[in-house]
């Protein structure tokens, strides 16, 4: 079984982007609040993920990694985020769900 950590550097970027959009006046107050809440949830997961190892051949690891890449790419394009905020927030929710599933199968916390 090959173990690997999740890409916490990319996850950190995603979290910081969430907090940035929470303070962006071009985003509606309701969506700002959503970005803040999702950013906090992701940060809570990040602190657990920092010391966790995973079986990188599992479906959970693949799903979380793919979801992380998708969200990171979307958040880096502010035009897309502002035009499709609801979709972006949905993708972030999916990422949180995938990370929860991944944490449930963590092989070790070092």
């Amino acid at each position: 079984m090959a173990t690997a950590p999740i890409d916490t550097a990319t996850l950190t970027t995603v979290i910081n982007q969430c907090f940035s959009y929470a303070m962006d006046a071009r985003v509606s107050p309701a969506d700002q609040n959503s970005f803040l809440i999702e950013g906090k949830r992701l940060r809570g997961q990040l602190l657990n993920l920092l010391s966790a190892q995973f079986d990188n051949t599992t479906a959970q690891f693949a799903a979380a990694t793919k979801s992380l890449t998708t969200v990171n790419t979307a958040l880096s394009q502010s035009g897309t985020v502002l035009a499709n905020t609801a979709q972006t927030l949905n993708n972030i929710s999916s990422l949180i769900g995938n990370l929860d599933k991944l944490l449930a199968v963590a092989t070790s916390f070092v």
């Binding site: 916490t8 979290i15 907090f19 940035s20 929470a22 303070m23 700002q32 602190l47």
Partner: protein, 310 residues
């Protein structure tokens, strides 16, 4: 008698010269010990405060949003920082112990480099010691037949004691060198683990934590601002300003930089201890540069770390 006086002068010159050479570790080892103590104090406070930082962050969120209730477990069943420490206290303690060990190493090195030589040179059981003691005895024995000999007894005794200290310094020099060569690599290993912690775990923790605190304060202000008085708005904006400063400090990676400076100095100390005679001057200059850079950075970095310590 003139030959004896000239011999004493030559001996005095030799002693002064050898003293300059033999004491080369005292200044850098003293600076190393002082800076190690300061650095360990700053880094230990940073480590020790990680869980209270997370608790403060959690309570700040609760304070900013009246819809959130405070608790030890959140709505999804996860423990909050109030219910369970985010970072294992045992892990934090292990890191603090490792840092203490580095502090003990620096203190022992300092003690070794600064050990006082015995006042009575006669106790030095060496060939050099025996011959110098004999010289001292010879001068004392000349007192009855040589009118000026008595005036030499004091300086010679002092000189013999000084040479004894220099000899012991020479021995001490070797002990300090051995200690650096044996302990330095272990210190480097401990410091590199601490730097890894800083770069991979705590840097991420403080950067995202500071950004979370800032976003929380901004969102709360924007939500409440219409209902706030001018004075309340000024107070809330001042808080946002302070949190923004902390967020800027968090991105500076000050704890990691401080450990890096310490590693640079330790590496320079190791290099100096292992340098050949012809490279000694250059390695001492590099050591002084590294120590100087470390000393000048400690205060700045400690100031940047302060907002990250709750």
């Amino acid at each position: 008698m003139k030959r004896t006086k000239a011999g004493v002068l030559v001996l005095l010159c030799c002693v002064l010269l050898s003293g300059c050479l033999n004491n080369r570790y005292i200044a850098p080892v003293t600076a190393f010990q002082t800076s190690t103590t300061q650095t360990i104090s700053v880094i230990s406070a940073f480590y020790a405060s990680r869980n209270s930082y997370e608790t403060q962050l959690y309570l700040r969120d609760i304070a900013a949003d009246p819809t959130l209730a405070v608790g030890t477990v959140d709505a999804s069943g996860h423990p909050t920082p109030l219910g369970q420490p985010v970072f294992s206290p045992a892990s934090i303690k292990a890191r603090l112990d490792a840092l203490s060990l580095v502090g003990v190493y620096a203190s022992r090195l300092y003690a070794l480099a600064n050990t006082s030589a015995p006042a009575d040179f006669a106790t030095a059981s060496t060939a050099l010691g025996t011959s110098l003691t004999a010289l001292n005895t010879t001068f004392q024995g000349l007192g009855a037949s040589d009118a000026t000999a008595a005036s030499y007894v004091g300086p010679i005794s002092s000189l013999v004691g000084t040479i004894g200290r220099m000899y012991l310094s020479g021995e001490r020099d070797r002990l300090v060198k051995d200690a650096i060569q044996e302990g330095g690599p272990q210190v480097n290993i401990i410091l590199s683990h601490i730097k890894d912690d800083m770069d991979k775990i705590f840097s991420v923790e403080v950067i995202t934590g500071a950004n979370q605190a800032l976003a929380t304060a901004v969102v709360a202000y924007n939500k409440d601002r219409a209902a706030l008085t001018y004075d309340q708005r000024v107070a809330r904006l001042a808080e946002i300003s302070a949190v923004a400063d902390a967020a800027t400090s968090a991105t500076a990676s000050a704890p990691s930089k401080l450990v890096s400076s310490m590693m640079d100095a330790n590496n320079a100390l190791l290099k100096s201890a292992g340098a050949s005679k012809q490279d000694k001057q250059m390695s001492l200059a590099s050591l002084n540069d590294a120590l100087g850079a470390w000393v000048s950075e400690i205060q700045t970095l400690a100031t940047q770390i302060k907002p990250l310590v709750k």
